[in-house]
């Protein structure tokens, strides 16, 4: 039995939810970024799966979207990690529960 399209979709759903778990449950800012990156990778996996199992148009749209998504994710990671360092310099912590200055 070869893997079906729905198998890939279930797998990327599992990856997305693991990323969501990391982003929601961990209190360390770097873990939240790792979770967001995992959710982006799950979305990219879906694009590639739909491209592979679909009618495959002449410009490979799914592949293109995934390449652009990887580039955007890299930019997001660079800015996010720079923000973590800037916040750490200011507050001396990376625990997001302690960065609550804007709480009303």
């Amino acid at each position: 039995m070869t893997p079906m399209l729905s198998t890939f979709l279930l797998l990327s759903a599992a990856l997305f939810c693991i990323g969501l778990l990391a982003a929601l449950s961990r209190r360390h800012a770097i873990f939240i970024l790792i979770g967001i990156e995992m959710m982006l990778a799950a979305a990219g996996l879906n694009f590639i799966a739909f491209w592979r199992f679909g009618p495959q148009p002449a410009p490979p749209t799914g592949v293109m979207v995934t390449i652009f998504a990887i580039a955007i994710a890299a930019a997001e990671a660079a800015v996010g990690l720079a923000l973590v360092i800037a916040v750490y310099r200011h507050y001396r912590t990376t625990n997001v529960d302690q960065i609550d200055q804007l709480k009303g």
């Binding site: 039995m1 969501l20 590639i48």
Partner: protein, 160 residues
């Protein structure tokens, strides 16, 4: 498409992703994160998108993982104890997973096998990037430049 390779890759990727999400030590989690993205790149190879798999390995394992390790190095304090874990996130993630599985199972027409063979050369990708996708390519270049300059400005030492 080989089902044994698929199952092995799926187990590897999900185990590494779970370890990255749950391990208490930051450095261990960062290494598991890199392993999980090697697994995702393996899926791209399995699906016939070799170029995207290579890009994934270069960008994530080569650049983002190293960036994360450096950030851990720059923000680590020995005295700080490990922050806690909110178990309510498990509830939300489980609910989202159940909803996604329900949607996938209920949607018709997803139980199809792959078309026999597919050829996607780097030449095709390059031609598409230079013709149909030239404006998105320029915009991504602009976004990357702005993001990297912004990241540099954010971490520059403040003058006092």
């Amino acid at each position: 498409m080989n089902s044994v390779a698929f199952i092995a890759l799926a187990v590897f990727t999900l185990a590494a992703a779970l370890a990255a999400a749950l391990l208490p030590k930051l450095v261990h989690a960062a290494l598991c994160f890199a392993a999980a993205f090697v697994g995702v790149a393996g899926f791209y190879f399995l699906l016939g998108a070799e170029f995207v798999g290579l890009v994934q390995i270069f960008v994530y394992v080569g650049a983002v993982a190293v960036l994360i390790v450096f950030t851990i190095l720059l923000t680590r304090r020995e005295t700080e104890r490990e922050p806690g874990f909110h178990w309510s996130g498990l509830l939300v993630a489980g609910a989202v997973f159940a909803g996604l599985v329900w949607a996938i199972v209920k949607t018709g027409g997803l139980n199809r096998a792959a078309p026999p063979s597919v050829t996607l050369t780097v030449r095709q990708i390059g031609e598409a990037l230079m013709t149909d996708y030239v404006w998105p390519l320029q915009c991504v270049g602009l976004v990357l430049t702005a993001a990297l300059i912004g990241a540099l400005v954010l971490v520059m030492e403040e003058k006092r």
